[in-house]
Every structure is written in C-alpha cells, then in structure tokens.
Symmetry: C2
Subunit: 258 residues, 2 copies
C-alpha cells in the first residue's frame, strides 16, 4: 500500500537523516542495507525506520533489505531534492554569512539567489566563495560565475520585492536581529513567499498558508541546561560519587536513569 496521502510530520523530519546516511553508504558503494543497519546509523530503532519508509511505499525486499541507490532516489524525490530550490537570505550578519557559505545547502538543491541587508556598510559586499565545478566548459563557467557573483553580492533590503520578482526564491531564510524579523517576514509574505526558515528569536505571525520553521540557538542551549541541572540535582540527592573533579566519566556503574 503506497501511501500518497499524509506522511506524518515526525516521519518527514527524519527523512533527511535517512537520506544523508544512505548517500554516505552509496559513496561507499554499499548496494543494499537492512532496516536494522540503516536505523542504527540514523540513530533510531528499526521498527520506526521501517514504518517511516512504509509511508513512501514498499521499497524493500523481504529477507534482503533496501536497495541503497533506489531508496536514495525515492527519498530525494519525496523531499523535493530532485528540484532546484532558490533561497534568499535576509540579514547578513555573522549567522547570515555562515549560512551563505554553508556547503550543505548547495549539495541538496538549495541555491542562494540573493542576500539582503539593511546596513549600508554590508550592502555591496561580496559574501562567500564563488565556485564552479571543474570540467565545465568555459562559456558556461563564465555565465555561471557571473550569476553566482551577482547572487553573492549583498543588496539592500529595499530591493527585496525586486529580487523576489526577478529570482523567484521559493524559500526565505531570516537571519536578522529579533527587532527586524517581523517586518522582514511581512514583506516576504507580501511578495508571495510561503516557506520561511527563521533564525531570529521571535515568534513570527503569518497567514495560515505560510509555513515557518524556527531554529533558535539559545532555546537549544536552554533545553540542555535544563537537563544538565536536573542531572546535577539528582547527583546531589543520590548517595554515591563526590564528583567535583573534572575528570569524572565515572560512568554510573549501572545507572539509575529516569
């Protein structure tokens, strides 16, 4: 039973991991893989993995496993990695720069078509490496370089609408300070964007047909701090170890977890 309708969100969130692991296996010339192996490499258990994959279709072979190459392709197609996704980045501070340079984007069909900032000292700067695959013919290379150089030059925020019209980004990344984020978001939405990745530490309000995903660095640290604190509270309450040394790794003999 192929399930074209409604892959659960939790599954969608794991597909990129499976895809990455499978791609690595592919590079090692591994032809097939069992749910058990793939699950271990992906940090999940095998039942979950099999159920996840079953939402895409029955792509495995009983008694054998999954064909790596075939599965890579199926997941890529499901995620839309076979398309080209033009991305605009707004806010070219440290984080925006880091994102503009991030290799993991280009390799999966995400192509930076524009960089925007409102700071006059940043506008006009060239950001990131301009790279062309070797073995490309000179004319194409020249054109590609030109286009890349263009899309790597930071433009002023007030060109946002022009950029959207000209380059039709499908996804916008907001890496501005918190204060500017909602305004930028409103303009992106006004220009027709429907997919936004937000790094600013604010909750953006958008119409219900726009999807926003949020990455909040401080939040992640706070969650870690919560668990760290809980661990310490428990250690204090428990009878054993004195653990004010740094070298610890006392690895609880047979730990009382949760």
């Amino acid at each position: 039973m192929g399930a074209r309708r409604g892959i659960p969100d939790a599954t969608v969130a794991r597909l990129p991991v499976y895809h990455r692991v499978l791609t690595a296996l592919q590079e090692q010339r591994v032809a097939t893989v069992s749910s058990e192996e793939l699950a271990t490499e992906s940090g999940v258990n095998s039942a979950k993995l099999r159920k996840d994959l079953s939402y895409l279709g029955s792509y495995g072979t009983r008694g054998v496993g999954y064909d790596v190459e075939f599965l890579v392709y199926q997941i890529a197609r499901e995620l839309g990695l076979t398309h080209d996704w033009p991305v605009v980045i707004v806010g070219i501070g440290n984080l925006g720069r880091a994102l503009a340079n991030y290799g993991g984007f280009a390799s999966r069909g995400f192509r930076v078509v524009g960089l925007l900032d409102s700071d006059d000292t940043t506008v006009g700067q060239q950001v990131g490496h301009v790279v062309v695959d070797v073995g490309i013919d000179p004319a194409t290379a020249r054109a590609a370089l030109g286009a890349q150089a263009m899309s790597r030059t930071v433009r002023h925020l007030n060109e946002l609408e022009d950029l959207v019209i000209a380059s039709k980004p499908a996804i916008a990344v907001i890496a501005t300070p918190a204060k500017a984020a909602q305004d930028v978001c409103d303009r992106l939405v006004g220009a027709g964007l429907k997919s936004i990745l937000n790094f600013a530490p604010v909750v953006l309000s958008v119409p219900s047909d726009v999807e926003v995903r949020k990455v909040d660095l401080a939040t992640e640290l706070q969650i870690l701090a919560f668990h760290e604190q809980r661990r310490n509270r428990e250690a204090q309450a428990s009878p054993t170890q004195v653990d004010l040394t740094n070298e610890e790794t006392v690895l609880v003999p047979s730990g009382g977890k949760l």
Copy 2:
C-alpha cells in the same frame, strides 16, 4: 499540585519561548498576563500554555492571570537560567564565529569559556567582541576584560582536555565539519562533558548518560522543501493556474491569501 517529577519534553522545549515573551512583557512594565495573551504571543493555544505552566506549579491567579515578574523567575529557575553555564565551542568556522558572537547566549547565563579549532591559521585568532558592562569599577573591568580576551582567543584542539580541566564547561557546542564531529565528540565525552549541542550534519554516538541535541540547517530546509513541493503538487491538481514553465514558482499576481 506542584509537579516536581517529570516535566514532559515537549513542555521543556516551549519554556524558553514563554520566558522570552515574558521578559519582553516585563520590559514593557506589564504586571500581569492572561494565558490567552501569553499563548498568542508565544504562538501556542491557551490550553497548552496553561497545562505547560501547571507542571511548574499553580502560579496563576484565577480571574486575573499570571504575575509576569514572578513567572519569569519561576521559569528561569526551572530552566537553570539563574545559574551560570560555561560553554566551549569547538570548530571556529563561519558558524562557530557566529555562535561565539551571538548575543542571545550571554544574556541567558551562557558564557563562552573557550574556543577550539584544529586549523593552525585559525588558532590564535581573537574572535568576537570583548565587552564589559558600563558602570563597572575599573579593577573589576580590567579583570573581566582579561578573562574574556583569554576565552576569546582560539586555542588548538589538542588543548581540549586542558581547557575542560581549567574552565569546566558544562556544555559543548560542536560546529566542526561532519568528518571531525565524532572524534571531537568522543574527546568531549572522555573529558566528562554530558551536554552537547551538535551543528555538524552527523548522528553522534554517545553513552546513554550524555545528552546530544542536534541542529541541522540542511534538514530544516529540506522539511520546508517537502511542504513547498506538496503545496505545488496540490496547486497543480486544483483547477486554477498553469505553471509548467521551467522557472516554475509563478507568483500568484496579487495574493489570494487564505
């Protein structure tokens, strides 16, 4: 009924958002807030918010709402934001630099005590602004500046163990390339760290008493791409617009928002 035992993970993940919103309200001198208001600002519904807060204790007043200042403190305490959390960042590329400079850390008790990299041209560099609050007395300022300058100088990865002994970081951030991440992780774990925030696109394997949280930029984009693709498929199936140009993503002229 105060619930000391077991705040659900999903709730813990939302507490930082509530805390941020409440802090903003506090700065606007708002004294009390209802679950409805706080929920809207936090992007959740009010029932969820009330249930979340109920895990911390009965801190609201019926017919009135929550005391902003009191609630800020309670959440901060629960998350451990009243502590100081020394952080070490490993991998000082674009992202590591961005993280080292990120203001959202310092303001919540996260203090960068060390920066590590294995690249000799990076080692020795000074990263990030060294800042001291105004109105501090000169001697203290001098000491603070010294300590900060120290902790802002990139040190070589092979000093990792020394740094852990000297500065006792509670949390490590891995911002290295994928290839280096597992090795770095093993060394951090070996040195006793139990809380790791991983930006490298790999699944880290760690003992079960170590907590790893992962932020994967490419993954987030892929999830957006999935939904974007689904939206487009549906649009295609629906009667209106033709959209078979190669440049795809034909912007709807003046939006039919939902």
